[in-house]
């Protein structure tokens, strides 16, 4: 688990910060709501007092023949005395504006309509916030009805105290809950990350060679992660296994081949007879050529496997590729009696687009042609057919290489695709005994064929001799890297038929996009 650089984010911090921000917003909204609620509650409580006092005053007012009289009852003032620290102001006036008693210049409301419904107004008075009530009473007076209005004011001390206490109690509770919530989140994160820590422990304590899957029983949420890691470990293990097998194979094969070469040279150096010496030297040269070919094949095999794992496939035309490889082969086989042919008649538009890796495919095709040349008779014929099979589902593009050589019997075909299992490999392994060191690469068949005739047969570009047992393994590796199916069968010419069927790929739009437009002009046949 990588080092925690300064730029790396912490899951815990990020979650906590987000949660805290959320809580702050909630608290702010709740505070606003709480404050409004507290104010309304405080007002409601003390407005009842004001209302009571006003009612008591109005009740005691009466219309006498000499005018209207008001008597401020003691109960009214007592009622207001329930808020002990608050000052009280009052004025009783008629709707004509005449003040009957109290302070005449208390703040007025401009649009006052006399009503038996109380009206509350906040106003500044004598340097303080004062809440006033206006409450009217209709005085009986025949057609000349009158309103008498009581205005009673109260400072806000008691109200503010109640409001503050309601608000702060509520806020304290909210903050407490938020803190508890955040603490739970923190704990939850720790708990949730615990399996990851376990994985970290597991991985960091491992030996580099330990490629067993993680043992952790993952919770559902990280199950995908664990199985991805396990999948990765598995691929790594497989890869390592391949590499180890490959290195072991390479070591074995090259040592054996070089050993054989050494043996032949040693034997040559002890020959006195010039003819025997020449014979041994020729054999050594042959062995050197086989070693070269083997090395090339081993490297090619490693290369195609590596590319199969690492190189993305690109849209390419098999026709161009086949033509380029064939031309190259042709150029160097003029003196042989090999006949080559390319058949593309069944292709729509004469192109065979697939998703492929040109380098690997070239190697595969080259190996097939080499195989045909090496295993077949002198007058061999090799046909490459590119075709499209619409009848299969989905349609496939195929590459068929047929020769007129001896072919491979059906029961040996599967084994022929294995690395170092060319025909006669059993014999070869038996022959690895010390007494037969310099036959090491050959099968019984091959060794027999190393008679004078075979030894002097023309050499291809990469040296003579029979297959290293890698050619078809290379083809197989390339086919599987392309998710293509590889089938060995009997060719129409009586020899081996190698059929590679590629999954369909769409041709790119427009001309000239093929990486393999190397063909020099169109060929028809």
């Amino acid at each position: 688990m990588g080092a925690r650089g300064p730029r790396r984010f912490s899951l815990r911090r990020r979650l906590l910060v987000r949660m805290a921000t959320g809580f702050v917003v909630i608290i702010a909204l709740a505070a606003a709501a709480l404050w409004t609620y507290a104010r309304n509650a405080a007002n409601g409580t003390y407005d009842l007092l004001l209302n009571g006092a006003a009612l008591a005053i109005l009740e005691r007012s009466s219309v006498l023949p000499g005018g209207t009289t008001v008597d401020i009852p003691y109960s009214a003032l007592e009622l207001l005395g329930l808020a002990p620290d608050d000052r009280v102001f009052y004025r009783i006036f008629l709707d004509t504006g005449v003040t009957l008693t109290g302070e005449p210049d208390l703040p007025m409301v401009g649009d006052l309509v006399p009503s038996t419904q109380p009206r509350y107004v906040d106003a500044q008075w004598s340097g303080e916030e004062v809440r006033f009530i206006f409450l009217g009473r209709r005085l009986p007076g025949g057609g000349n009805a009158r309103w008498i209005i009581a205005q009673v004011g109260h400072t806000r001390l008691a109200r503010d105290t109640l409001e503050r206490s309601l608000t702060s109690n509520g806020m304290a509770m909210l903050v407490f809950l938020s803190l508890v919530g955040l603490a739970f989140v923190g704990l939850g994160i720790n708990r949730a990350l615990a399996p990851l820590n376990a994985i970290e422990q597991d991985l960091s304590k491992r030996e580099p060679t330990d490629l067993t899957p993680l043992a952790a029983m993952p919770p559902r949420e990280v199950e995908a992660l664990i199985s991805a890691i396990n999948g990765f470990i598995q691929r790594l293990a497989l890869n390592q296994e391949h590499t180890q097998t490959f290195i072991a194979d390479v070591a074995h094969q090259t040592r054996t081949a070089l050993g054989a070469l050494q043996g032949t040279l040693d034997s040559a150096s002890r020959q006195n007879d010039p003819e025997a010496l020449a014979n041994r030297l020729a054999r050594a040269q042959d062995q050197a050529n086989r070693t070269v070919r083997l090395t090339n094949q081993l490297l090619a095999h490693a290369m195609v496997i590596h590319r199969g794992e690492n190189t993305p496939l690109q849209a390419m035309d098999l026709v161009g590729l086949a033509r380029a490889v064939l031309e190259d082969t042709l150029r160097h086989s003029l003196s042989s009696d090999l006949e080559y042919g390319l058949e593309t008649a069944s292709l729509p538009k004469g192109t065979a687009w697939i998703a492929g890796d040109p380098v690997s495919l070239r190697e595969a095709l080259r190996n097939l042609l080499d195989n045909a040349a090496k295993h077949g008779p002198q007058e061999n014929r090799v046909d490459i057919t590119l075709y499209r099979d619409e009848t299969s589902d989905p349609p496939v593009t195929g590459l068929l290489v047929e020769d007129a050589g001896p072919g491979i019997p059906p029961d040996r075909r599967e084994a022929a695709l294995e690395r170092f299992r060319s025909l006669g490999s059993e014999e070869r392994f038996r022959s690895l005994g010390s007494e037969e060191r310099f036959r090491s690469l050959g099968s019984e068949e091959r060794f027999r064929s190393l008679g004078s005739e075979e030894r002097f047969r023309p050499l291809g570009p990469e040296g003579g001799g029979r297959g290293s047992g890698l050619g078809l393994a290379i083809v197989k590796a390339v086919a599987s890297a392309h998710r293509a199916t590889l089938t060995l069968g009997e060719s129409r010419l009586g020899g081996l038929a190698v059929d590679i069927r590629f999954p369909e790929a769409t041709a790119p739009e427009g001309p000239g996009q093929g990486p393999e437009d190397l063909g020099k002009g169109k060929a028809k046949s």
């Binding site: 042709l330 003029l334 006949e339 040296g463 020099k520 046949s525």
Partner: protein, 240 residues
Amino acid sequence: MEDNDELAEAVVERLTAEGHAIDREENGEVANDLLRHKRFDLVLLDINLPGRNGYDILRSLRARRDTTPVLVLTARSEIDDRVIGLDAGADDYLVKPFDFRELSARCRVLARRRSGAASNTVRFGPFTFDRAAKRATVDGRDLELRAREVQLLEVFLGNLGRVLTKEDLADKIYTFEEAPSLNAIEQAIARLRRKTRGSPLVVKTARGLGYIADIVEGEGTGDRVRDGDGETDGDGRDGG
């Protein structure tokens, strides 16, 4: 041009033994200068040279319109390189490690191609072709080529080692007024082939691909490599 001493010495020894004069240069920069001032019959060029990359040398050689045959030696086995080499103007390539018999065979082929291109009379072993008289002989015997066959022969000699499609050939030997007949070309090639049988000039057909002509090793040079398929030449000599 090769920077590995042992390989270079072995190559020099082999080719000197065959009677060639060899200049060996191991630095790409120096080699490039050398090619500027001196003419060679054949250049063996390693791609990985210190000082200057082999492809650069090849490109600048061709940019000077120098047609000296170049055989590229490369240790890189990915075939992309081969194609690049041929595109850059190489005449052939060999992947290291190579068989020395193969090397000298290829060298001879390249040198012969060049000797054919230079003069008015093309001579490959028993085969001669007089460009002016349009007359081809094998061992002095006139092949009695018809006009079409002569045209084809000229095209092939100008494109040794290259694959030509039937259409390529038709383009080269028919004028605008003539209606090209692929069939006629096939027949002409078949006749040309029959007539040149036994000479080092080989015309090979690849079905679906086209034709390729080149000079193959003929005479017994004491080289076992080619003894295996020496029958062709033997027959030819018998016939001549």
